[in-house]
Symmetry: C2
Subunit: 345 residues, 2 copies
Amino acid sequence: MSTLDTSSTGLQALLSPGAVRAAVLPVVRQQISSLEPTLARICSYHLGFTDEHGDPSGAASGKLTRASLMTAAAQGVGLRPEDVRIPAAALELLHNSTLVHDDIIDADELRRGRPAAWKVFGVGPAILAGDALQALALQMVVDDPGPCRAEISSAFAEALRLVLSGQSRELTVRLGSGTGIAEYDRILEEKTSALLQCALVTPALRAGSPEHVLTALRGAGRHLGLAFQIFNDVEDVWGDPAVTGKPVRGDIGRRNPSFPVLAGLSAGGPPSERLRELWHSDGTSAAHLQEMADLIEESGGRHRAEQRSRNHLESALEDLGRAGLSPAATAELTALFDRIVNRTA
Amino acid sequence: MSTLDTSSTGLQALLSPGAVRAAVLPVVRQQISSLEPTLARICSYHLGFTDEHGDPSGAASGKLTRASLMTAAAQGVGLRPEDVRIPAAALELLHNSTLVHDDIIDADELRRGRPAAWKVFGVGPAILAGDALQALALQMVVDDPGPCRAEISSAFAEALRLVLSGQSRELTVRLGSGTGIAEYDRILEEKTSALLQCALVTPALRAGSPEHVLTALRGAGRHLGLAFQIFNDVEDVWGDPAVTGKPVRGDIGRRNPSFPVLAGLSAGGPPSERLRELWHSDGTSAAHLQEMADLIEESGGRHRAEQRSRNHLESALEDLGRAGLSPAATAELTALFDRIVNRTA
């Protein structure tokens, strides 16, 4: 089961980002076009296929991170990319359903450098479009004729439940007075790791891999999500908006909990005290946000975040090694993990 | 397969509304309590189990129309109520997921006589709660250990897709300039009939009933939805808010398309012309709405709506007859159809 099948196609060609796009995007496009016309238009806009008038657009469709992970993991358990093409496309739709709703919930006006769907089409239609993506994703795995669709459907439903749970926990925490690092880890495991775990585990379910492989892949997905999201938190404060596609310091402006802030707040000492003061104030001016960013750095929050992200990436790679996938797929996933965490994928 | 099994429990006791509640609500409660605490609290409030503080509440949980239909249909194909207890509870959750989001989309402030979930908990948390109900419902049918879960999961996913399609079509039509009766029927078949068809068909799928039974039950659900929704439109204009739980004339105030209005507008003659004028004006005062109601009645819109609702109910009962369920279940469903359409169920 861990023998790589490269009989029909070369590994390198298949796993290039372009090849994953070529395999998965046609399925995504075809499924979207089956939706009611207004829903299709909103989803097509959100995915970067069209502009707000419905005309073809060259906008980015996202990095297809989850589809790429699933495709690479499939080869690692001896499957061909086409054996997971439907769940790979479905997982991208499921991920995007959460983004469409998340932008409404957070009042985020930008997504991938363009106005968010709710800003263009209104809150009501965007709620329905997110619902439709969610329903479509689950329908695709439920109706997928491939083997073990019941187990895969169950994994998808559970992953979605966890993402929603994490999003709700995050919202509650934001409204409350603060949170500890353990609670924050739990939020990330739910809202970020769950779909990455689903990406890695789905091929193993389809291939009927033994339990220890599933466990190792779940661990890899868990650590990968934590590494990715913590680095993402760092990018929110010090990243380039041209790369992230979002306004800089949006999360600290909204007082969303993030690892560098939590680490800064828990560090103790004068910069940490001053950071706490500002964090609990209403200030959102650029000067305010700059001072907070400087204080997070001075209190060691940035350093601890970068260190912790690296540690989780190492743990993810250790778990990946335990899964015993084919060497070529392991190498491919290792490179992919690194690109995902460092946002160059 | 159409033999009624009443060996363990009397039919009458099982099919009373109280008995359906007793069978289904514990499953609903248990599933809701498994959600993340904030999501559980919102869903529990929406379902009438608790008040806004999370304390037990005596509020109405809805009529469990879909669970009642499914339970009665189950007996009609020789199954016991407990054979469909999980899908019956799941279908109620799926229906409620659409209500939670629909109230946000329509800015409806009241649901079953209480403030809607989004008014109490905010739009963001209510979006997530609706998502969670949708995900939970699909997870329940996907993980249901009963027979033919793949077919039932597929029917649920398709029903949800249709509901969202109908809701989006309705929203688009409302924003546009008007709609014909054929387009309106299509909206109702999607947004209202789809879940009723799912309720009637699920037991037949579980029992492995032949295709002609499925076709007849789908037809019955289609007509039942049309009969119900058209009567519902009449109730919006002339019903008692104490019974409907919603402000009177909300739909015509928001210029939502409804059958009596469409029939009035297409009737021709002076009342119809005057109705068209008011319909395209901005007026939403009580005097405006009263004049519109009178004009709908004078132009024959109310009469045509009531007649059409009755005709669809008759067609639903004819299709039910063609399904060849057990006589006791057919009698029970006949009474239930009548109570659903006339809102006494």
